[in-house]
């Protein structure tokens, strides 16, 4: 009953028998006034540019020769789908990298959050701060630090591997983290671990929201740690995992900074890091093919939407909402 009234109430005043239409209009007017900045911002910086971006995808427009705008119809789209194999290849590279980095990043985040939620670990607040701290290091700086520590000759990772585990790691014969195209997605994944902080905090909050009765009941039933983890903990935090997954997918469609800082976006080693966002940048701001760039941008947008819809569609099979029935 309260909710039914609450929805129609204005500022909590009891609902009047005859809606006071002048008050409603006054409040509506102020509502519009308050959201005006966003209405303007949305129109100018989202809606119109998106429409215009589609328009750009139908013309040939190079910033180097701005006077030669020419309507080319679906030519850019045909080029993206058929004539330029790089577009499909960049999408596939992006997906292959995502298939490694998303699960690895998620497992690492859950692992750290579980560790930071364990009642056996002392000094958790301090450790949590340390796990979060690298998020604060600007991405460019973090990338440069990692490229140093993974350097095949002088980096500590290879030195430690060689001196502790006796692996031939240092040198040209060793582990070439940044030059080996088979390894580079794992290298980038490793670098991405420094961004674990946000996911860790959110998962930690999810873990703290799991009712303790569930664990008590399971313990009485004799469930061991792994059973509790897979049957209680993970299902209960699945909404949080879902949220992190969406954020992760959107981020990967725009993954640009690391390859740009490390090799200027030239795709090295052997084109492996020419992800779709990198190719978009190259076409638009290195070759100044603005029309074609807009086409790629729209493809990124459409693929992003498709992935988001697919994820939301899959949610009902694996995401548990405590509010729902059964």
């Amino acid at each position: 009953m309260t909710t039914a009234i609450g929805r129609k109430t204005i500022l909590g005043f009891p609902r009047q028998r005859k809606p006071n239409s002048s008050l409603l209009r006054y409040r509506q007017k102020w509502g519009w006034i308050f959201i005006t900045p966003w209405l303007i911002g949305f129109s100018l910086f989202y809606f119109l540019p998106m429409v215009a971006s589609f328009g750009f995808s139908l013309v040939s427009f190079n910033l180097a020769t701005p006077d030669q705008i020419e309507f080319v119809g679906a030519d850019n789209w045909r080029r993206a789908f058929v004539d330029d194999p790089e577009v499909l290849a960049s999408f596939i590279k992006t997906f292959r990298f995502s298939a490694i980095t998303l699960p690895a990043g998620m497992i690492f985040a859950i692992f750290v959050a579980l560790l930071m939620n364990s009642k056996h670990v002392h000094g958790k607040i301090f450790m949590r701060t340390l796990f979060y701290a690298p998020v604060m290091i600007p991405g460019v700086a973090a990338t440069l630090i990692w490229s140093g520590v993974l350097n095949e000759q002088t980096g500590w990772v290879n030195m430690l591997l060689q001196n502790i585990f006796g692996i031939q790691a240092v040198g040209v014969e060793g582990i070439r983290w940044l030059q080996n195209p088979q390894l580079i997605y794992y290298t980038y994944t490793l670098m991405g671990f420094w961004g674990v902080g946000n996911a860790m905090i959110i998962i930690l909050a999810g873990l703290q929201g799991v009712p303790t009765e569930l664990y008590e009941a399971a313990e009485i039933d004799g469930a061991n740690y792994w059973q509790r983890l897979f049957k209680i903990t993970l299902p209960m935090i699945s909404p949080v995992i879902f949220y992190n997954l969406i954020i992760g997918v959107i981020g990967l469609m725009q993954y640009f900074l690391v390859p740009y800082v490390l090799n200027g976006g030239d795709g090295s080693p052997q084109g492996a890091t020419r992800f779709i966002a990198v190719w978009f940048y190259k076409q638009s701001f290195a070759f100044f093919n603005m029309g074609y760039g807009a086409t790629i941008a729209w493809m990124i947008f459409l693929v992003g939407i498709a992935l988001t819809i697919a994820l939301f569609g899959s949610a009902r099979y694996w995401v548990y909402y405590s509010g729902s029935e059964d």
Binding site: L63, M253, A294
Partner: protein
């Protein structure tokens, strides 16, 4: 019975104590590995140029010692000497009785830190820095197999060098001005919009709010090119305006965060203010904002860090205007020019990280709560 129970309890206690120790140690180990690159960065930033290019140099910041003799500088090497029985040969020996220098090993031979004066293939002449009057000492063996004598030597001046080379004051000023202006602009405008969404009846409010959320996950690429073309047309490319002006028109993320907070504020005080005759704007400024300080601080921190870290748009809009670069773009350009100077690169990277890290350590409680607030309350 009671005894047994006590036994059980104490054994459980022991087990818990052990678990605590084991898991805490494990946690510390994971943190240590996790932060190892940072330690690498700090250590490397303190090395000399020479150490970086020398093979076999120690991992800690050090410099190879040298010795001034007769107005010239000579490198000091660790000369190992021993006789046929692996006994150290005292100084002032007869050079002819020497065998190969390798015999000594770690404990077997004496180690002398001598300066190399004349180098030949199979022999060399040294001088003892502690006793130069004794003159040249002839030594049989290959001097190339000898190690330099490294002493701990942290090059704090690398930070000054990086600071000057990268023109850090310029970059810092740019970044700070940009971060502060856009933070105030975006949080201020987003608070207004969020208040509208939280409290006022607006037709199609739910649809509009869905659009607000959608803008958060919209890839920036899809709006970039027309924006760039327009900004280019009106002469804004190469200035800060394309980066600053949009901040005055709110953004989805902050609207969402602040709206969630405003909805949790009880309405009574607003009603009281309205009854007292305060208009909506007045109510917003003097009733809502003072109650929302934690959320406003969290939103400001988020945006400040975002701006500090912002890379793609500054890169695109400021290409070719190095004097307007923010830290991130400046650091990238610096890396392209000095990529061989790892020590300077690491120093510059750490300089750019220090301010956000300090702000974070002081404001982490508010900040981390804000993340929970946006991430979990969906």
């Amino acid at each position: 019975m009671v005894n047994k129970l006590n036994e059980l309890r104490s054994s459980k206690k022991v087990r818990e104590g052990f678990n605590g120790f084991a898991l805490t140690s494990f946690g510390i180990l994971v943190v240590a590995i996790f932060l190892m690159p940072l330690v690498y960065g700090i250590v490397t930033s303190l090395k000399t140029d020479n150490q970086i290019t020398t093979l076999g140099a120690p991992w800690w910041p050090a410099s190879a010692r040298t010795f001034e003799y007769d107005g010239r500088t000579y490198d000091i090497f660790r000369v190992v000497e021993c006789d046929a029985d692996d006994n150290p040969i005292p100084w002032g020996h007869d050079a002819d009785s020497l065998t190969t220098p390798d015999c000594g090993g770690l404990f077997g031979g004496a180690v002398y830190n001598w300066a190399l004066v004349n180098r030949q293939r199979e022999s060399a002449e040294f001088i003892d820095p502690d006793n130069p009057e004794a003159g040249l000492i002839t030594w049989q063996g290959r001097w190339r197999t000898l190690e330099r004598d490294w002493v701990f030597d942290a090059q704090w001046s690398n930070y000054l060098k990086a600071w000057d080379t990268i023109k850090f004051p310029r970059l810092l000023a740019n970044t700070l001005v940009y971060a502060l202006i856009t933070t105030v602009a975006v949080v201020g405008s987003s608070a207004l919009v969020a208040y509208g969404f939280a409290r006022y009846p607006i037709p199609y409010k739910n649809v509009l709010f869905m659009i607000v959320i959608a803008t958060i996950i919209l890839p920036g690429a899809v709006t970039l090119i027309p924006q760039y073309a327009v900004f280019n047309q009106i002469g804004w490319v190469g200035t800060w305006l394309p980066l600053i002006v949009p901040a005055f028109f709110a953004n989805g993320y902050n609207i969402f965060l602040l709206r969630q907070f405003f909805m949790s504020i009880p309405k009574e005080m607003e009603e009281a203010a309205m009854i007292d005759g305060a208009g909506p704007m007045r109510t917003f400024v003097s009733v809502i904002l003072p109650q929302s300080v934690p959320a406003l601080v969290a939103a400001s921190l988020f945006h400040f860090f975002f701006a500090w870290n912002h890379f793609f748009e500054p890169l695109v809009y400021l290409a070719g205007s190095p004097d307007k670069y923010p830290i991130t773009v400046g650091l990238t350009a610096f890396n392209n020019l000095y990529s061989q100077q790892t020590n300077l690169i690491q120093a510059a990277s750490l300089i750019s990280a220090i301010i956000p890290l300090i702000v974070f350590f002081f404001a982490q409680r508010v900040f981390l709560q804000g993340i929970v607030f946006t991430g979990v309350d969906k």
